[in-house]
């Protein structure tokens, strides 16, 4: 597949809608755990990475499970 096609498919992927949610959830969750802004931002980064990693693992499991379908 050509690169522009892949790029266009990537840009129109609905997964992009998860990015603002992940940012928002990470920041708010972390803000309920800390009082200082530097701690909040550091915790938010870790929470965001954890969420993305968790989603990637679930996606990989679903891909493996649906491989034979």
């Amino acid at each position: 597949m050509h690169f522009p096609t892949l790029l266009a498919a990537g840009l129109h992927n609905q997964l992009w809608y998860s990015v603002p949610l992940i940012v928002s959830i990470s920041l708010v969750y972390s803000a309920t755990r800390h009082e200082q802004m530097n701690h909040i931002l550091r915790h938010a980064w870790h929470t965001g990475v954890w969420i993305v990693g968790f989603m990637a693992i679930i996606m990989a499991i679903l891909c493996v499970v649906s491989w034979a379908l």
């Binding site: 928002s24 920041l27 309920t32």
Partner: protein, 185 residues
């Protein structure tokens, strides 16, 4: 371990002024972040306000202003509204719109947040089905966005009422380990 955590948490919370927790919680429900602003916790107040309201209005816009509505009729029990109601004031117009729709009065704001007309007639299809067709997956995404915004505000309200649930590394444990002389005394 549990006793140590509880002790450190309460000690740390002593340093944070939680002015009128119940009033702050109510203000926080009315407008996300307002409770923290009232308590003088400006950084967190602005953070909550920006994150939660952006999520809410982004979701509302995705569904053309129709993803937030109040309805509890047999053919349309909008349970999602209970989650959306967590953002407080920005979700309340849905109740006014529902009351106006029930009374047969003209809707406000061009029908934004009004419940759908579920009785299709010759010229008018089932309005909820029309919204789903028009906005497609954006309708569901918008619903999820607005629900999450409401649920996030529940966390913010709890924070305004009780202060942050500090993990161990934020507590005074590093400065005063439990086995140190200062801590023992």
């Amino acid at each position: 371990m549990g006793t140590g955590n509880r002790r450190n948490r309460s000690e740390t919370n002593k340093g944070i002024e939680l002015r009128q927790p119940m009033l702050a919680a109510f203000l926080g429900w009315l407008l996300p972040g307002a409770g923290h602003l009232y308590q003088g916790r400006y950084g967190k107040g602005v953070l909550f306000m920006v994150c939660i309201l952006t999520t809410y209005f982004f979701g509302l816009a995705m569904g053309g202003g129709h993803v937030v509505y109040a309805s509890w009729k047999p053919n349309d029990k909008r349970w999602q509204y209970f989650c959306q109601l967590g953002v407080g004031l920005p979700a309340l117009p849905a109740i006014a719109q529902a009351r106006r729709a029930d009374a047969g009065r003209p809707l406000l704001m061009g029908g934004i947040m009004a419940p759908p007309n579920r009785r299709p007639t010759d010229g008018n299809p089932d309005e909820l089905a029309k919204w789903h067709r028009d906005y497609n997956s954006l309708f569901d995404l918008g619903t999820v966005y607005t629900m999450i915004a409401g649920l996030l505000n529940v966390l913010a309200i709890y924070d305004a009422m009780s202060g942050p649930a500090l993990p161990e590394h934020d507590s005074d444990e590093k400065k005063h380990p439990p086995d140190s002389k200062e801590s023992v005394s």
